[in-house]
Symmetry: C2
């Protein structure tokens, strides 16, 4: 485990969510004016958020999507149908409000913060961008580690700071998302390293790779694993060798959210890879994570097993940007507000089940 003092103090702050509190919340659900368990998974969500916040009056009114952008040296291997310049172009699009995440965040009433975690191309000057680049893109992990250990620590602690700031500013629900041409390749490499599964079974088409592109992607991942796997001694080294700056930042967000007792919605495949890394640092992080949606990427399912979460939505989305996390916010809000806002059988004078019919 790392000896970095910032990382150590972050990890030292993480505690388990109280299982006894979840049981108490479950009992409270039975008093609300609905048949027992009839709100299904909404009840589990509310019970866990209550336990995370340690109160029977939890709130997720203020929610924020943290969207980290970065570039990937592995693009030199021809793993993506889009040119690398698209990362910076899409960041500009986010800042102008023209991307899917802008629209969906607005629809669900979530704040959206765009963070440059390490984009390679120049991003036109624009309001609202948080510039926290670790470097201008990672190295090509087919030939060398994607980043240094110091850069990996910097990415994680930067992400944790973003989570901490959001909580300090009053957010009680976070969502993580990403933009980075080539980052499904990094996420697939991490998934193979985390699970031991062969590259072929955890590598998908990403943003729409054709057959030739997919073969290059798998080959790049296999070469990277052959080069780095023997040297990987833990999650920090794994991130450094195979990850990306936005993946490190999202991993840090998960750790930061857990350290500050805040629920966090994990977006799709790449965000779940970051979540799975965070769980390697401390398995108690699982208690704070909610899987927002099921990605169509084949590597997503084994990552969901690692974070111990079942997706809330399954809408065949594969866009990233935090769009799935944003779309799950109303589900979490509905769950929490039903728990706090519904009448009880007693307060509403509604007969409980099996009461004698009058």
């Amino acid at each position: 485990m790392p000896a970095d003092p910032r990382l150590d103090s972050l990890l030292a702050a993480i505690q388990s969510v109280d299982g006894a509190f979840i049981e108490k919340a479950r009992a409270r659900q039975l008093e609300l004016t609905k048949p027992p368990a009839s709100l299904g998974r909404l009840e589990e969500i509310a019970n866990r958020v209550a336990a995370i916040q340690g109160t029977f009056c939890p709130s997720v009114d203020r929610a924020r999507i943290l969207l980290f952008a970065a570039d990937h040296g592995v693009c030199a291997e021809g793993v993506n149908p889009y040119p690398q310049a698209v990362t910076a172009q899409m960041v500009a699009n986010f800042l102008r409000g023209g991307a899917a995440i802008n629209v969906i965040a607005r629809v669900v009433g979530a704040e959206l913060e765009i963070v440059d975690a390490g984009v390679a191309y120049d991003i036109p000057a624009a309001e609202g961008l948080l510039r926290r680049p670790i470097a201008r893109g990672t190295k090509n992990f087919c030939v060398e580690p994607a980043m240094s250990r110091e850069q990996a620590i910097a990415a994680i602690t930067m992400g944790a700071e973003m989570a901490e700031r959001a909580v300090t500013e009053g957010c009680r629900l976070l969502g993580i998302g990403e933009m980075g041409i080539g980052n499904t390749t990094a996420a697939s490499a991490l998934t193979a390293a985390l699970t031991g599964l062969p590259a072929v079974s955890v590598t998908g088409v990403g943003t729409g790779a054709d057959d030739a592109c997919l073969l290059r992607k798998r080959s790049a991942i296999e070469r990277a694993l052959a080069l780095h796997a023997p040297c990987i001694d833990g999650p920090l080294e794994m991130l450094a060798r195979l990850g990306g700056f936005e993946i490190g930042a999202m991993c840090g967000c998960c750790l930061g959210a857990a350290a500050h007792r805040c629920a966090l919605l994990v977006d799709g495949f790449i965000a779940t890879a970051a979540g799975a890394l965070a769980v390697q640092f401390d398995p108690r992080v699982k208690d704070y994570l909610f899987a927002a949606h099921r990605s169509t990427e084949p590597g997503h399912a084994p990552l969901l097993q690692i974070i111990g979460q079942r997706p809330l939505l399954d809408l065949e989305m594969r866009l990233g940007e935090g769009t799935g996390a944003a779309l799950a916010i109303p589900v979490v809000r509905a769950a929490v507000e039903a728990f706090t806002g519904m009448a009880t059988f007693a307060s509403a004078s509604v007969s409980d089940r099996d009461a004698a019919a009058s």
Copy 2:
């Protein structure tokens, strides 16, 4: 088919949704700044809503849940663990804002209209209740038809009027829901009649029937089918013999929404039974329906086949009240607003896929 002039004119107004328009919307999706089809089912939703509204600028800003309450004579057979008085008590709870649907409608920014379609017990005077009772509960369909043909027509046309009024007032997305102790029994009887499946395979625990209650429920449905099936000559007679007033009203809502070219979210099992009835009147109604969520009731799946829709959400909910329909509203809004609000590759100066990397 019925000879009632109100029903005839309602049915005469229903037209197919233009498949060519859906194709045009699909082409438009390819111009938006996202990988092709990466918004998954959101794209299908937006394309169909655009075609329903006949515009590339569809809107579902204003959405309304229509919640119909009514009582069921079959409760005399001991088919439900809650006393029948709970229907009226829950209507009072809706009017005070203490039920799950109140909370969820507020979370998603939907209007909520509560309609007394035929509650047996007195509902305390309260603001906001629309009183449109067809009668004070249906008859026990184990011994006679649940209602007359005239009552069935009245329920349908009342529901259609509610849909029409919502559209006239500016709503572009409707959701249907229900409250009625005993109405899973009616919905299961209708499902058996619609599909030819045996009662045992389409009858579930509803709000939480125990084993003895479930046996009484199945027996009641089997006796009702034996009594009425030979006389059923179409959907109107099926509704009259085996249905309920809220089911007839929801069926009318589906017909009214289609007649007024408005998208409609069908809630769970009981609402889908109403939707399936509407599809018997005119199969083109399918084009206007969206299945909000997958119910845990075993009869839901065959009904979904009849309305030709796959549920958007699967959260193990089984509450009714329109809670599933309400929870799906942000999904439809996100779909539609992404379609209308996203930048195009050209407008945002984002390189399309396979463009040469600079």
